[in-house]
């Protein structure tokens, strides 16, 4: 495939929730294929709204989002499923089927690639099983394939979450606070995994984070949101404490850092 993969473009995009809360306001943003973007902002700044607009989990109330030149459909259906097939998502709370084996969880990433009846009967084609196994290898836990998801540690569960996204063979990965329920050591492992996968496979990766030091350490490009508006967009290398102060609208404290001694 030679088509440009994983380009995202927001044009005048806005989300106003039914209760009147503004989740995103008139956003113009372009993300190039293969970029590793970290999105920061205090809670309620619209980080999740931004990610979830890309795969249609949140509907826009104005403007458009395009993935590879095609507008994201604003209702459930074939078109939206075709888009979601190319966009993997990783969640803070992992969202695994606890009572299923790891491999069966990863195979959920193949749903959009196989006929519905096969998926419902569990008759996965060999090719798709292979893809799922390779995804597990890439996150370094192939030996856990037949273990129940509930028997894994938090870090391992998040790796299964990443493998599930990889099994989609996606152009884009959206990670919504992927390390917020993990301890510091596991946090760094998962962040390194995400960076490595981004480099190895060239998958456009967007990660929501609320720890500033993590954003600086792993981000290539940092996007800052405040009250649903874009307030910062720049390289992670040149972002200053002053910029963070602007994004958060206050002085930041050690609560905003993962490693407190880094302050």
């Amino acid at each position: 495939m030679t088509e440009p993969r994983g380009r995202i473009r927001f044009s005048g995009a806005g989300v106003t929730y039914p209760n009147g809360t503004v989740g995103m306001k008139d956003l113009d943003l372009e993300i190039e294929p293969g970029e590793f973007v970290v999105i920061v902002g205090s809670s309620g700044a619209g980080k999740s709204t931004l990610l979830r607009a890309i795969n249609g989990l949140n509907r826009l109330t104005s403007g458009t989002v395009e993935v590879d030149g095609q507008a994201v459909a604003q209702r459930e259906g074939r078109e939206l499923r075709a888009l979601r097939k190319r966009v993997g998502m990783i969640f803070q709370d992992f969202r695994l089927v606890k009572r299923l084996s790891v491999i069966n969880n990863v195979l959920i990433g193949r749903l959009a690639h196989v006929p519905v009846w096969r998926a419902l009967l569990g008759l996965w084609p060999q090719h798709d099983r292979d893809v799922a196994l390779r995804a597990l290898e890439r996150v370094g836990i192939p030996e856990k394939a037949w273990v129940r998801a509930s028997a894994l540690s938090g870090g391992q569960q998040q790796r299964v979450g990443i493998a599930r996204a990889l099994a989609q063979e996606p152009a884009i990965i959206l990670a919504d606070e992927p390390v917020a329920s993990l301890d510091p050591v596991t946090t760094h492992q998962i962040m390194r995994d995400l960076v490595r996968i981004n480099r190895e496979l060239g998958i456009t990766t967007l990660v929501n984070l609320h720890f500033l030091d993590l954003a600086r350490e792993y981000g290539q490009r940092i996007i800052g949101l405040r009250h649903g508006e874009l307030v910062y967009d720049g390289s992670a290398r040149t972002v200053t404490d002053e910029d963070f102060r602007d994004i958060y609208g206050r002085d930041f404290t050690e609560d905003d850092l993962l490693d407190e001694e880094a302050l």
């Binding site: 499923r81 969640f91 959920i108 990433g109 749903l111 959009a112 419902l120």
Partner: protein, 262 residues
């Protein structure tokens, strides 16, 4: 930081409590009066019940072998009814769950369908199916299927409504269809409940098939009716004992299955 004292307990609304209590008392008194229920009369006549119990004792164990065949028929009716109803209750329950259904109209229609099923008694369904397929065990099994749908779909749709929607959303985000979202996102979270309710429905069906026997649906209920009509109370006692033991056994088995499910 200054610790603020625990605030005083807010005063109780004695008017409300008193009002509710008075209302309940009045309702009970009015209803008892309405059906001519009196504790004193009950005390005086309790001996009649005692006489019936005495006549039923001891249960006629010699009658036991003749119960084997109708009892098996009862079990068969209950099993067929539970399986058919158990399968049909799946879509009925899913469409009645607000978080999973396919739109307001479908949800509303399905809710009302469930209410109709629940409101009409199993005896009504037995009569209905008897006119369709004739009196006998098939009519009984069909009636119990409806009864099973009513029981399971009501309970299970509530379980489905209380699941965590994060997982179904993740399945959707991976490009899954509605059916795939159900299979991988919703059902795994409520599977244990489904099995529990199906076993519970089976238990109810074993009991209900006795009642259905009264209207000619076959099984042990039919024997019960003939023996009762002939004042063979020791045999009636035997039949009740058999059903009691059966229900207890089913209860034990389902408890064991439920424990292994977690």
């Amino acid at each position: 930081m200054a610790v603020s004292p625990v605030p005083d307990r807010p005063p109780r609304n004695w008017w409300l409590i008193g009002g509710v209590a008075a209302f309940l008392l009045a309702m009970t008194g009015w209803s008892a009066e309405g059906i001519g229920f009196s504790l004193i009369e009950l005390m005086c006549n309790i001996g009649g019940g005692g006489r019936l119990l005495a006549e039923s004792w001891p249960p006629d164990f010699a009658f036991l072998p003749r119960l084997a065949e109708p009892f098996m028929e009862t079990l068969n009716i209950a099993i067929v009814g539970t399986v058919i109803g158990g399968i049909l209750s799946l879509p009925v329950a899913v469409l009645a769950a607000r978080n999973l259904t396919l739109g307001r109209i479908v949800w509303f229609a399905d809710r009302n369908f469930m209410n109709v099923l629940r409101t009409l008694p199993d005896l009504f369904w037995a009569m209905l199916f008897a006119t369709a397929v004739g009196f006998g065990p098939v009519a009984g099994a069909l009636a119990l299927s409806v009864f099973t749908i009513a029981v399971i779909s009501k309970l299970w749709s509530e379980s489905l409504e209380s699941i965590d929607m994060g997982l179904p959303e993740a399945v959707r985000a991976a490009g899954g269809t509605w059916l795939e979202m159900l299979k991988f996102g919703a059902v795994p979270q409520a599977m244990q409940h489904y099995v529990s309710y199906a076993l519970y429905a089976f238990e109810l069906n074993v009991r209900a098939s006795m009642v259905l026997g009264l209207v000619g649906a076959g099984g042990i209920g039919m024997i019960l009716e003939t023996q009762r009509a002939n004042f063979e109370y020791e045999r009636v006692a035997m039949i009740i004992l058999v059903v009691l033991v059966a229900v207890l056994i089913i209860e034990e088995i389902s408890e064991a299955i439920r424990r292994r499910l977690t």
